[in-house]
């Protein structure tokens, strides 16, 4: 059984507001998942429900193939929104409280503080910590039970570049040990740098779930340059491979409709007497793919509304 988490038709309504609308997706063991979505798309509410702090309106979820219980929570490490600790307690005392709740041995406290590079501040009060340190302490707390799944919600929110890099290093290090990670974020390049899979949420709906590469479902596009741009465009338009051809200054961008590799295209163009000065095959980066997804979704809704 390699499915760590299955979510089935989960919904949450706050009065008339639908925060999460019929979300279903599953998380496989050992992968790093990005939970992507703009602010207010229902990321935190979804995590809240599967972590038992928000009561779902309807729907179910299964951790490790079993119906939810607090025992499954003890195999999970999670931080939601921001680090929540007792400000008057020291780092060690805070972790002791967490360790008793998770029934983890106290001997792991120093080890985990070492992992997040906070051992030298262990006796300082939480209230004296900087935001970056608080965030790292939260990760240490989440790791206390050596979790099979680590859930992080916006872990780099509000941190300075150094702090961000440090957190990312820690996440990568944890991922390398085979821990499944679910990382909620609205920072696309963060997800692109760390995650292998993404779940995209928009307005409470999940609009994509799969690997980062397959996200757009598109084949990519060519960037081409030749001595005579006009001739090049005519030639491309005559070919059956492209759905959109646009001119950008002295280059041409041709979006693929069916798969075609660069050598084949080059060969065909040479045969027709066009010699390229520039040939690159590209795929949209995550940011463009994400914006496309959200745009398509919005277009669909507007179209539907118009029909009604």
């Amino acid at each position: 059984m390699n499915t760590v988490l299955e979510i089935d038709k989960l919904s949450k309504h706050f009065g008339s507001l639908v925060a999460v609308d019929d979300i279903s997706f599953s998380v496989e063991k050992g992968n790093v998942y990005g939970l992507l979505g703009p602010n207010g798309s229902g990321k935190t509410t979804t995590l809240g429900m599967i972590l038992n702090v928000v009561n779902p309106t309807k729907g179910t979820w299964r951790w490790f193939g079993k119906t939810h219980s607090t025992d499954s929570l003890k195999k999970i490490g999670a931080i939601i929104e921001r680090p929540n600790f007792y400000p008057y307690l020291s780092a060690v005392k805070n972790l002791e409280t967490v360790a008793i709740i998770k029934q983890a041995p106290f001997s792991r406290i120093e080890e985990k503080l070492e992992t997040v590079d906070l051992l030298h501040r262990k006796d300082d009060r939480f209230s004296a910590f900087s935001l970056g340190m608080k965030q790292r302490l939260a990760i240490a707390a989440a790791l206390l039970n050596n979790p099979e799944v680590l859930i992080l919600d916006e872990p780099t929110n509000g941190l300075d570049p150094q702090g961000i890099i440090k957190i990312r290093e820690i996440i990568k290090q944890i991922a390398s040990t085979g821990t499944t990670i679910i990382l909620a974020s609205h920072l696309l390049d963060e997800v692109e740098k760390v995650c292998s899979h993404v779940v995209v949420l928009n307005k409470g709906k999940s609009i994509y779930c799969g690997t980062v590469e397959n996200m757009s479902g598109e084949l990519g596009y060519f960037e081409l340059g030749a001595a005579s741009t006009g001739e090049l465009i005519n030639m491309l338009e005559a070919m059956p491979y492209f759905e959109k051809i646009t001119r950008m200054q002295n280059l041409v961008s041709a979006t693929l409709k069916t798969d075609l590799n660069a050598e084949e295209l080059n060969e065909m163009l040479v045969k027709s007497g066009i010699f390229l000065s520039h040939l690159v095959k590209r795929k949209n980066n995550l940011e463009q793919q994400f914006l496309n997804l959200i745009k398509n979704e919005t277009d669909d809704t507007t179209a539907k509304n118009r029909m009604e």
């Binding site: 809240g48 702090v53 009561n55 307690l89 008793i100 707390a141």
Partner: protein, 270 residues
């Protein structure tokens, strides 16, 4: 159980303000047994030596000491309210639940602390009464007559603490929660006064005595003092009536407060 206590100990005892309050309360409660013997309130420049009046003689000592010891419970009420509202302010309740504590365990850990406070206070007051009584009573024959007021004290504390727990869980802000507890008490007094004012003087039962705070107050009645008996040489104090029927009412309220707290906790999103 031990695990829940350990969690609460870690949270509360390492909190300096709470620790000072708790220590202060118990020191005061213990020393009360001694302090009451040296404090002589004066009325119209006439110093009153309560010991001479027989305030600490069996069986009156049980009623008198429990009545006064009850005023200290406000200290512990503050601690219980803040220990719960802090969890909301710091949002640690959310983290606790995510870390694998159930809502039931969370409430239970808070109630356990209340129970321990109530048991410790009751034990201290019990021994204070016993020692004072043995010291001042010349011929102690029936020591434990009137000791049922100790049960009343324990129940009143438990009711007050569970009442505080409910308001803390409900309101989630320490200042407001405390104000509401206080206002509630005031309202019950007013309602009782209105009922008394509007009823004929012969009746001894008032419906508003069934309200939670009024019912709890019935368990620790004001000491019966008859100063005029000083002249005749009869005992100044007399033993009040311990209302067993109100015990049942108060126990029912404790159960209701706990169930309501749990339902609130269960229903709310964090």
């Amino acid at each position: 159980m031990i695990r829940l206590l350990k969690i609460e100990w870690n949270k509360t005892y390492n909190y300096r303000t709470a620790r000072i309050f708790i220590i202060l309360y118990f020191v005061l409660l213990v020393s009360m047994g001694y302090l009451v013997t040296i404090i002589n309130p004066s009325i119209d420049n006439l110093s009153i030596n309560l010991a001479q009046f027989g305030a600490y003689v069996f069986p009156y000592v049980w009623q008198n000491i429990t009545f006064f010891a009850d005023f200290g419970s406000i200290f512990l009420g503050i601690i219980i309210i803040t220990s719960i509202t802090n969890e909301y302010t710091y949002r640690t309740i959310k983290q606790n639940l995510i870390d694998g504590l159930t809502k039931k365990e969370f409430l239970l850990s808070k109630l356990l602390v209340s129970l321990i406070f109530a048991i410790l206070s009751t034990l201290i007051v019990f021994f204070a009464c016993l020692i004072l009584g043995l010291h001042y009573t010349k011929n102690p024959d029936s020591i434990f007559t009137g000791a049922e007021f100790i049960l009343g004290y324990f129940l009143k504390l438990s009711a007050f603490f569970s009442f505080c727990t409910l308001f803390a869980v409900w309101i989630r802000k320490s200042g407001f929660a405390f104000m509401c507890v206080f206002l509630w008490r005031l309202c019950e007094i007013i309602i009782l006064s209105i009922e008394k004012f509007n009823s004929d003087s012969s009746s001894s039962f008032f419906l508003s005595n069934l309200l939670p705070a009024n019912a709890a107050t019935k368990l620790l009645p004001f000491p019966n003092i008859k100063p005029q008996n000083l002249l005749t040489g009869e005992p100044v104090f007399s033993l009040g009536y311990f209302p067993c029927e109100y015990c049942i009412v108060v126990v029912a309220y404790i159960a209701i407060f706990i169930i309501l707290s749990y339902r609130l906790l269960k229903k709310r999103d964090l």
